[in-house]
């Protein structure tokens, strides 16, 4: 049987008219939202930029990628009409992509409705009459967004120290010039111009709002995600000697990442086998495991399954797993999350003891004020105007109050947080102030 497909020209004409109507509407919407209007007519780019207007960038990325495939397949089917079987086969992914695109467009329109402070029923309008709705929203004056898209290209970051600090003999020297990533085809600065020297025996609080780059900083510090940086632990270069140095740095993640159906003793034993040197004798290794069980109060539960432990015990086990190598640099990401005040305090006292043994202990916590007396120093990271993580302060806890003019760590955090996060939005001010102080110090 000879099957011929004649896709009518009118259906392509309809598609083209709809495309132009939506683009004209987007032109107006983009202008209102502060997005370059040229993108409204460019396929794929317009899908991404409408998501920015809707404050739905995450969904917009998926929407954009789906659009790319959709457009490619649509064009391919146009040229494959004379091959009926292939044409029909192509319709299957097109249908799948179309459904996904509709779902994501609805998500984005919900975001747009929120940004324009309109009732949700407007989404139905977009669903059935997308072109008309886009034109109405784009050109009727009463439709105004409550939030504009930030143009970070125009923003200027706070001034920098711009030079590396000299290396200290005993302690951690951090000189992070910048840490960048390519995020959805765009270069993004995550951290910039972070320089400090932390002496041994110090317990340091790492403070910063959401997205200020705390985890990125720690990952750069430990060499886990390398930055354009120079990280020296004593006289050892963490990046150059990463294979060796990673065993000298303990990192305790926020979640208790252990197998719940293994026993405490075996969990520690496996951690010891993985982390301790091969040359260590069985006796020494067993002694080390026993001392960890003892030091972290786990002796009584050593034969229990990890799942049966309390929150505090589990956290102590997680710390013991890292501390088993007796690292010089010990980093903990919110070790007190999920713990009550008394248990959390006990845990921090234990960390203080570790620091007093001559280690550097760096801790992220969201409730610093209840244990601030145990810390020596504080590192304050903040997002500057370009949304890059910057160093707003590093120094003693006591001097930090004076520097920020506040009386608690929570107040300091509020002062550096952006205004749209409920903060005072003074990050750039403190970043520059600290850079000036540092310039004076290092000459």
């Amino acid at each position: 049987m000879d099957i011929t497909f004649n896709i009518s020209l009118s259906s392509y004409r309809t598609f083209l008219i709809k495309y132009i109507m939506i683009s004209i509407g987007y032109w107006g919407i983009f202008k209102k939202c502060g997005v370059a209007r040229k993108w409204a007519f460019i396929p794929v780019a317009r899908e991404y930029h409408i998501s920015l207007c809707a404050d739905k960038e995450k969904e917009g990325r998926v929407y954009t990628v789906l659009s790319i495939f959709y457009y490619i397949l649509e064009i391919a089917t146009y040229f494959l009409q004379q091959f009926p079987r292939v044409y029909l086969f192509m319709l299957i992914p097109i249908l799948g992509l179309f459904v996904a695109l509709v779902i994501y467009s609805v998500k984005i329109y919900f975001g747009l409705v929120k940004v324009f402070n309109r009732k949700k029923r407007w989404v139905w309008g977009f669903f059935f009459f997308e072109g008309f709705m886009a034109i109405i929203w784009g050109f009727v004056g009463s439709f105004q967004p409550t939030k504009k898209v930030e143009n970070l290209k125009m923003a200027e970051g706070a001034k920098e120290l711009g030079r590396d600090l000299s290396v200290i003999d005993e302690g951690l020297t951090v000189n992070i010039r910048q840490r960048t990533v390519f995020d959805f085809y765009k270069k993004k600065n995550l951290l910039k111009d972070i320089h400090m020297r932390i002496p041994k025996g110090h317990m340091v609080l790492l403070l910063g709002g959401s997205g200020a780059g705390k985890t990125t900083y720690l990952n750069a510090l430990t060499g886990y995600e390398k930055a354009d940086a120079n990280i020296m632990l004593d006289k050892n270069d963490v990046y150059k000697d990463y294979a060796k140095m990673k065993y000298d740095i303990g990192f305790v993640p926020q979640q208790d990442l252990m197998r719940g159906n293994d026993t405490v003793a075996m969990t520690l034993s496996d951690a010891a086998l993985l982390r301790l040197p091969k040359e260590m004798s069985v006796m020494e290794r067993e002694n080390r495991i026993a001392s960890m069980l003892d030091q972290f109060g786990l002796m009584a539960v050593k034969n229990s399954l990890v799942d049966k432990l309390s929150g505090g015990q589990r956290k102590r086990l997680s710390i013991a797993m890292e501390f088993i190598t007796d690292p010089d640099l010990f980093i903990l990401d919110e070790p007190d999350s999920g713990l009550d005040g008394v248990v959390a305090r006990k845990l921090f006292v234990k960390l203080r003891e570790i620091a007093d043994e001559g280690k550097i202990v760096i801790v992220i916590t969201h409730t610093p004020d209840r244990v601030i007396d145990l810390f020596d120093d504080v590192i304050v990271l903040a997002k500057d105007a370009t949304r890059t993580g910057r160093l707003a302060y590093y120094g003693s806890v006591k001097e930090s109050y004076e520097f920020f003019g506040k009386t608690s760590m929570e107040e300091i955090l509020l002062s550096i947080n952006q205004k749209d996060e409920g903060g005072e939005g003074r990050a750039d001010e403190f970043v520059e102030k600290y850079a000036d102080i540092m310039k004076e110090r290092v000459g």
Binding site: Y247, R259, D262, L274, K278, E279, L305, D326
Partner: protein
């Protein structure tokens, strides 16, 4: 002086780490109820033997259906063994990778552990089939023992599916995602086996991608498919015995003649001869070729799994 400084820093390599993780996996086998896959495989084998075991290796149709069912239970077992293995502890693996774990050692430990699990499941399946009175191949091709030949094929099918599921587990970030992908893969394995369901000519090359195609082919070859009688033509013709033509029943007379002269078996064999498939010949080359295909796919899945896991550090929090 720290613990680390006291020694020339050398840590356990890939082989030692493989055994550390192997120990861990066997502990989890006991404590995390992973052992349940063994009785489950016995139950599945029992059900399949009950449903389609009657004509397996007795007729062409029964053999095709039975070997397809056997391939399917092997794929099912393999999938269930490891579909959640990595994704359920992905964050833990990431932490351990940071602490010095070699991904190759981690995957190798899974390979060994799963191989043992698959071997046990194959033994269970064969024992259950034997107990249920299912006919199994009587002649051997590769080893001197037909059951060992059969066991190796079943093992290759199960293990290949197992490694595919391990790949999915390494790819998926969550157990929910893995369990969503699994039925889709299972359907592909069933539909594109290339034997049980008729595929368009253009789709036939796709069947080379499936574990079931190579498993089923090897199982049919081992059971000497082409020497078996074909009953479907006879059975369908028999349904027409009462058709009247000019007041008589010529087909009924013909069937009576065949039965009276004891020609039924000859007819069945003649019917089979017209439907023989060279790809199911009782040949060592065919069986070895199928094993090699299964082995190759297993290797591909393992390599991809390792590559995927090497990027585990890029996982977002």
């Amino acid at each position: 002086m720290t613990v680390m400084e006291a020694y020339e820093v050398k840590h356990r390599g890939r082989i030692a780490q493989t055994f550390i993780y192997l120990g861990k996996l066997f502990r989890l086998f006991l404590f995390q109820s992973d052992w349940k896959v063994l009785p489950m495989s016995a139950v599945i084998a029992g059900l399949v033997a009950f449903a389609v075991g009657g004509n397996l290796y007795k007729t062409m149709e029964g053999t095709l259906m039975g070997t397809f069912a056997l391939s399917c239970i092997c794929v099912w077992n393999g999938f269930f063994n490891s579909i959640q293995m990595i994704c359920r502890e992905r964050a833990i693996v990431k932490r351990e990778h940071r602490a010095g774990l070699h991904i190759t050692a981690y995957v190798a430990s899974h390979m060994i552990y799963q191989a043992i699990l698959c071997a046990l499941q194959v033994i269970i399946t064969i024992v259950v089939c034997t107990i249920m009175g299912v006919t199994l191949p009587q002649k051997s091709l590769v080893t001197p023992w037909p059951l060992v030949d059969l066991g190796i094929t079943l093992f290759f099918i199960t293990y290949c599916a197992d490694m595919l599921a391990l790949l999915v587990s390494a790819f998926a970030r969550t157990t929910t995602t893995a369990m969503t992908i699994m039925p889709f893969l299972l359907i592909v394995q069933l539909l594109f086996s290339g034997a049980f369901f008729s595929l368009p000519k253009e789709a036939m090359p796709l069947s080379n991608l499936t574990t079931t195609k190579w498993g089923l082919t090897a199982l049919c070859a081992q059971g000497d498919y082409n020497s078996l009688p074909m009953v479907s033509v006879w059975n369908n013709a028999l349904k027409l015995k009462n058709v009247e033509i000019d007041g008589g029943k010529p087909l009924l007379m013909m069937f009576q003649y065949i039965e009276e002269n004891d020609m039924r078996e000859d007819i069945l064999m003649f019917s089979a001869q017209q439907n023989q498939k060279p790809e199911y010949d009782f040949s060592i080359d065919i069986v070895i070729r199928c094993w090699l295909w299964l082995f190759m796919w297993t290797c591909v899945y393992i390599i991809v799994t390792v590559i995927l896991l090497e990027f585990i550090d890029r996982d977002k929090r």
